[in-house]
């Protein structure tokens, strides 16, 4: 078999730009999803019923639709339905964030629910207000407890950015496809793509695990 990695090396800037887009899209999606997801999770835990019902509907809906469908709908259907056209990068950011936020909301809600009720009682007994109990006692422990699940979502988010290729966001997958098609070297190019994703994700998942091991005791009541 004839192996030639030169198309990869010749196009390293082009592929590197794709890697940068992948990282930017991952970080931006994760940040937006974290803010939206945490808000939903906290609102579902402590909010009034008129608020929790539509939020539960949102979470269940997002979890029942493939992320690829959300992405394609956001890019192709949303502009027709609303008249608002989103450039590919922004469509991918919105779709991924909306999707991931639903999972983060569930992680946050489970984290809050896992803190034993005695902790809230002890804080209330000191005279704290409900808001102080949540802010000072429940959430700090919940955040520690949700770290492993949050780490999984982080790696899923990075991987999911690859589907943005279908709406032509120039991230790593899209750039790889372009190079592979032009060079007729799919084996070399996609093997490289695989390796780059692995090298990006492996430290991330291991890093989150290592952080969790160091702080786990702070959430153990």
């Amino acid at each position: 078999m004839d192996i030639d990695f030169s198309p990869v090396l010749d196009n390293w800037r082009f592929l590197g730009f794709g890697l940068m887009m992948t990282i930017v899209l991952s970080v931006a999606s994760m940040a937006a999803a974290s803010v939206v997801g945490a808000s939903i999770g906290i609102a579902r835990s402590y909010g009034p019923r008129p608020l929790t019902i539509p939020l539960a509907f949102y979470v269940d809906t997002m979890r029942a639709i493939p992320v690829l469908v959300v992405l394609v709908w956001t890019f192709f259907a949303f502009p027709i339905a609303t008249g608002i056209t989103l450039p590919p990068f922004w469509a991918a950011l919105v779709a991924l964030s909306a999707h991931i936020a639903a999972y983060i909301a569930e992680i946050v809600r489970a984290g809050i629910a896992s803190v034993r009720p005695g902790q809230a009682r002890a804080a209330l007994a000191l005279g704290m207000s409900r808001a102080q109990v949540v802010r000072k006692i429940i959430l700090p422990q919940a955040i520690v407890r949700m770290l492993p699940a949050y780490g999984s979502i982080l790696s899923i988010t990075i991987k999911d950015t690859a589907i943005a290729t279908v709406i032509a966001v120039p991230e790593l997958m899209r750039q790889s496809e372009t190079v592979a098609a032009q060079s007729f070297r799919p084996m070399e190019v996609f093997t490289t793509t695989m390796l780059v994703f692995f090298l990006l994700l492996f430290p991330v998942t291991r890093g989150v695990d290592a952080i969790y091991r160091r702080v786990a005791h702070l959430g153990r009541s």
């Binding site: 009682r121 007994a125 000191l126 005279g127 704290m128 207000s129 422990q141 005791h217 009541s221």
Partner: protein, 264 residues
């Protein structure tokens, strides 16, 4: 409390208005009646011990004392005023009472020092430094000055419970509520916690103690209340309740625990 008036003439603190009065307190959880018309009082400076079988309502009464549980009927009067029903007002009463829990319930994300200081800094809006000075003194009082920077996960059960006592004391409570404070402890660490409680009692702290430690109730308690099925079976000075119980249920409960009198 006319029913107990005459008999209580010699009861500790009877010369002053009681700090807590329970008047026909009823508490239900669904179909289960946890407290079925409980009337009693706690005098200032007294150590009142609540004893009785598990599930008899002792701990529930304790939680009703600082409004962690809302009662269904009757009244709980604290320092002359019925407990407020609204959560925002209940806070102001709760901070005047200290509470110690069976499972310690220390905050795991804070050091021992922070656990003791957090009440003053959060609830009383005291400066962090000032609250910590006070917290350090209280840790020393419970014999844990050297553990100030330890997280709860690195402390033994007995040490955790002593930090929890210091945390409650930090708010300068007018009454301390203990909910089975030694039930989750290894036998060898029970003594250190009871020692701190005895010291508090000697200093004149008003205490309500739910306990299965009959020796503590007999020796440190000034007044003992026996519960069964959400009702008070019998109450009186420990000498009467332990050595000459009037009620059959009290005798049964004590003999079930193997209580054969305080021989030591």
């Amino acid at each position: 409390m006319s029913a107990v008036g005459g008999r209580d003439a010699g009861r500790k603190g009877a010369d002053r208005p009681p700090i807590v009065v329970y008047e026909g307190v009823v508490k239900r959880f669904g179909a289960f009646t946890a407290l079925d018309g409980v009337s009693a009082q706690v005098n200032r400076g007294e150590v009142v011990c609540l004893i009785g079988p598990s599930g008899s309502g002792k701990s529930t009464l304790l939680r009703c004392t600082n409004a962690l549980e809302a009662i269904d009927s009757g009244r709980v009067v604290f320092d002359g005023a019925p407990l407020p029903r609204r959560e925002s007002e209940a806070r102001h009463v709760r901070r005047r009472m200290g509470m110690v829990f069976q499972n310690f319930e220390l905050f795991p994300h804070m050091t021992a020092l922070e656990n003791v200081a957090v009440g003053r800094s959060t609830v009383l809006s005291e400066a962090d430094g000032t609250a910590k000075v006070r917290a350090r003194a209280l840790l020393a009082k419970v014999g844990l000055a050297d553990k100030a920077d330890n997280y709860p996960s690195t402390l033994s059960g007995g040490q955790q419970q002593r930090v929890a006592i210091a945390r409650a004391l930090a708010m300068d409570p007018e009454v301390m509520l203990f909910d089975e404070p030694t039930s989750a402890l290894d036998p060898e660490t029970i003594g250190e916690v009871l020692g701190v409680m005895k010291q508090l009692a000697d200093e004149g702290m008003t205490m309500v103690v739910v306990t299965h430690e009959m020796t503590f109730a007999r020796r440190v308690g000034n007044w003992v209340i026996v519960f069964d099925h959400g009702r008070i079976v019998e109450q009186g000075p420990p000498a009467q309740v332990f050595d000459a119980p009037r009620e059959v249920r009290t005798r049964e409960f004590l003999s079930h625990l193997g209580w054969g009198g305080d021989s030591g």
